[in-house]
């Protein structure tokens, strides 16, 4: 709770003493919610994880980040559900993903910042879903990118699929089969970190929650 207060203090500090209100109007909350969800059974969500049917896949990107936009662009022609986490993650979850997942189990694959992952990871507990695959993408000052698995190591398979130069977002969906394979094995990827970014680094994270 303190955090809200802190940022408001900062606003006040930056701009004299008045809390500033932005007046621009943007898109509204998407969708309407029923008051009570019949939460799907946990077993059903496990079955979804075991399937490789891509109709159950929902790809989540964050349009604030170039690589994430690349991911979205790469999916343009495909029949896979694509959602932007940048605008209002809460509206996305409560207005769309939660009702959809309550109707039919699914698999979430995403690329965004750690906050995006952290929030979806916590929310997905409602459906017994967990992070089964996670890859950190670190941007070096020279523009190159390092992809680190949950052990903090680079991985040959991953480096082969992705590039270590900007643009890896275009190839990210090629990781989906690898992620699905991992999803059967361990939960070491779940809750690896909190929502904060890596120390002194600019980074993104890609993940699968099923």
């Amino acid at each position: 709770m303190i955090c809200c207060i802190l940022i408001k203090k900062r606003h006040a500090g930056d701009k004299g003493v008045m809390i500033k209100r932005r007046t621009t109007l943007k898109i509204g909350l998407s969708g309407a919610l029923a008051s009570a969800f019949p939460l799907q059974s946990f077993a059903a969500s496990k079955q979804a994880a075991a399937r490789t049917d891509l109709t159950d896949l929902k790809v989540l990107y964050n349009s604030n980040y170039a690589e994430s936009r690349n991911l979205a662009a790469s999916m343009h022609q495909q029949q896979i559900q694509l959602e932007d986490m940048a605008e209002d993650l809460a509206a996305l979850w409560y207005g769309k993903l939660k009702p959809e997942l309550a109707q039919r189990p699914g698999i979430l694959f995403g690329l965004g910042d750690r906050v995006d992952l952290f929030c979806i990871e916590e929310l997905a507990r409602d459906f017994g879903m967990k992070t089964v695959f996670r890859l950190e993408h670190l941007f070096n000052a020279d523009g190159s990118v390092i992809h680190l698995n949950i052990k903090g190591q680079t991985d040959k398979d991953v480096d082969r699929l992705l590039t270590t130069v900007p643009g890896f977002g275009y190839h990210l969906t090629e990781l989906v089969p690898l992620a699905l394979q991992n999803s059967q094995q361990s939960i070491d990827a779940h809750k690896r970190t909190g929502p904060f970014p890596m120390q002194g680094k600019s980074s993104l994270v890609s993940w699968m929650i099923s």
């Binding site: 303190i2 940022i7 004299g16 003493v17 409560y94 906050v115 409602d126 904060f196």
Partner: protein, 538 residues
């Protein structure tokens, strides 16, 4: 996998089979991977032996199933830990207070039973989130406003039962204070309703909270006396309009006069949440450089006044929302300015335009201060993510340390000074200073807040724990305590409320022993241990 204390694997397996019979196979989670979902992401013991870990989780669909779970737990002496939405981050997340407890995850009990915008209340089940309630009100064009904590993914029930807080008008932002009527499954499985709800057929459950005789509602918050299955929430009628205003005072020593006047306004129910700041001090994210000022310890008043003059900005400010019909808002604002002018030389005023309520749907995403208007959101996580003070060594989470101080300048300054000393004594740069301002979550108390980092790194967590404990010790020395804390510190926090040899806790534990003889419900929560587990006190 953790086992419940004093239970063999085979006994636990037998209990799990009974839980499955009660709620269905799909709703008992006992594998390591499923139970891991209930770990506390912000745990200050992450990965260490003392991290609180559940043994299993059970998700009942209705009150009868809750009763069955409680009866089974009694038969096997299994500690259970009820959660509503289980998003109590910084205060334990979804993890139990005692390792080996079975989490009762009430997420499937998610009905909004009623929202009444003539008598201004809601009646909800545990799994209803703030988002659910907000959306329901919007969809049904109901003329009420809810009060939300920063992250809206929690529940009115879970938040209230942990004494959670929000951001609107005084009586509503104390969430437990604004509940009205509870339904509880007792530790022995009996169903109880409080207030007018105890009269069969009463239609006044959400209108009249006392009934006759002692009110027991308070026993169910920050405690372990029962499992709440329904709760009434008092709602504020949607105000016609609001206006945000700011008042500044020039001198450091004006703080007390500012506080006196704001107390008058708050306690007269004329203003929304007062939000104090120090333009001269610069706030926590961009503090004015104070190196020299702090060189020889806490500065004198003369030094502080000179510092304020050198900054060329007012020493203190307070902002708040005025809610109500346009005429009332404008009239109140005129009266407020008059009162301040009479009392403080050099006071200045700023105001924003008046906005009508409810905010149109399409305007909501761009609003910078949604919580002040009861609009649930998750923006807080991005705000903390991007703040300049955590840039160099961002932690994985935080254990919030809130010092409750008297509503005076002296109270706020003392808490800030003592916390600064605590930090320094433990080798940390101080997080508070002479310009720290109080937060007014509770309308009749000040909170001085520090966020102590938590990590995935045991050594760093050890240092954080020592810091947290030292802060609690230090504030107790000046007669202050905290209002809420994570399980790791609940025993210590409670031990500071020890008037007359801890008579309060002794009384609570006597109640615990008679109400919950097997000690099954949330043992240890807020320092209340059942007789058979008192040696667990940390």
């Amino acid at each position: 996998m953790a086992l419940p204390p004093n239970l063999s694997q085979s006994e636990f397996d037998a209990a799990l089979a009974e839980f499955r019979n009660a709620v269905g196979n799909d709703w008992v989670f006992s594998s390591d991977e499923d139970v891991a979902l209930y770990r506390d992401s912000y745990s200050i013991y992450w990965g260490e032996e003392e991290e609180r870990i559940a043994s299993a989780a059970v998700a009942p669909a209705n009150v009868e199933e809750v009763q069955q779970i409680v009866r089974i737990a009694n038969r096997y002496s299994i500690p259970v830990y009820p959660i509503s939405t289980g998003r109590n981050l910084t205060y334990g997340g979804a993890a139990p207070t005692l390792t080996g407890s079975v989490v009762i995850d009430l997420k499937r009990m998610n009905r909004i039973i009623e929202v009444n915008d003539k008598r201004n209340y809601a009646l909800v089940e545990p799994g209803v989130s703030y988002f659910d309630l907000f959306n329901y009100i919007r969809e049904n064009n109901l003329n009420v406003m809810i009060d939300v904590p920063d992250p809206g993914w929690g529940s009115p029930m879970g938040n209230s039962l942990d004494h959670g807080v929000g951001y609107t008008f005084g009586p509503y932002r104390d969430h437990f204070g604004s509940h009205i009527g509870l339904e509880i499954v007792s530790a022995e499985g009996e169903l109880i309703r409080t207030g007018a709800g105890a009269i069969p057929g009463s239609d006044a459950w959400q209108d009249f909270h006392y009934g006759v005789g002692p009110s027991i509602d308070g026993l169910f918050a920050q405690s372990n006396f029962g499992i709440v299955t329904k709760m009434g929430v008092k709602l504020m009628p949607m105000p016609e309009a609001f206006k945000n205003v700011t008042i500044t005072v020039p001198r450091y020593q004006d703080f007390q006069a500012l506080i006196d006047e704001v107390n008058y306004l708050e306690d007269s129910y004329l203003v929304g949440m007062p939000f104090y700041n120090s333009p001269a001090g610069g706030g926590l994210f961009d503090p004015a450089p104070m190196g020299e000022l702090m060189q020889n310890g806490w500065p004198s008043l003369d030094q502080l006044e000179a510092f304020v003059r050198a900054q060329g900005r007012p020493a203190w400010s307070v902002s708040f929302h005025l809610y109500g019909p346009q005429e009332i808002v404008q009239g109140t604002w005129t009266a407020i300015q008059r009162r301040f002018r009479d009392k403080i030389t050099g006071v200045a005023f700023e105001e924003e335009e008046l906005h009508n309520l409810p905010i149109p749907e399409e305007d909501i995403p761009a609003l910078p201060d949604k919580a002040f208007l009861g609009i649930p959101n998750l923006e807080i996580f991005h705000i903390v993510n991007r703040n300049p003070i955590n840039r160099n060594d961002p932690p994985d989470g935080h254990a919030d340390m809130f010092t409750m101080a008297p509503r005076t300048a002296e109270g706020a300054h003392t808490a800030a000074r003592v916390l600064a000393e605590a930090y320094q004594e433990m080798g940390f740069p101080p997080a508070t200073g002479p310009f720290s301002t109080p937060i007014t979550f509770y309308s009749r108390a000040f909170v001085i807040a520090v966020l102590i980092p938590t990590w995935r790194d045991a050594a760093k967590n050890e240092a954080s724990r020592a810091l947290y404990a030292h802060c609690l010790d230090k504030i107790a020395e000046v007669g202050m305590g905290t209002y809420r804390t994570a399980p790791a510190f609940q025993d210590l926090a409670v031990s500071k409320y020890n008037f007359n040899d801890g008579s309060l806790l002794k009384f609570q534990e006597k109640l615990k022993d008679s109400i919950d003889p097997n000690g099954i419900i949330s043992p240890g929560r807020y320092g209340i241990w059942p007789a058979n587990m008192r040696n667990n006190r940390g």
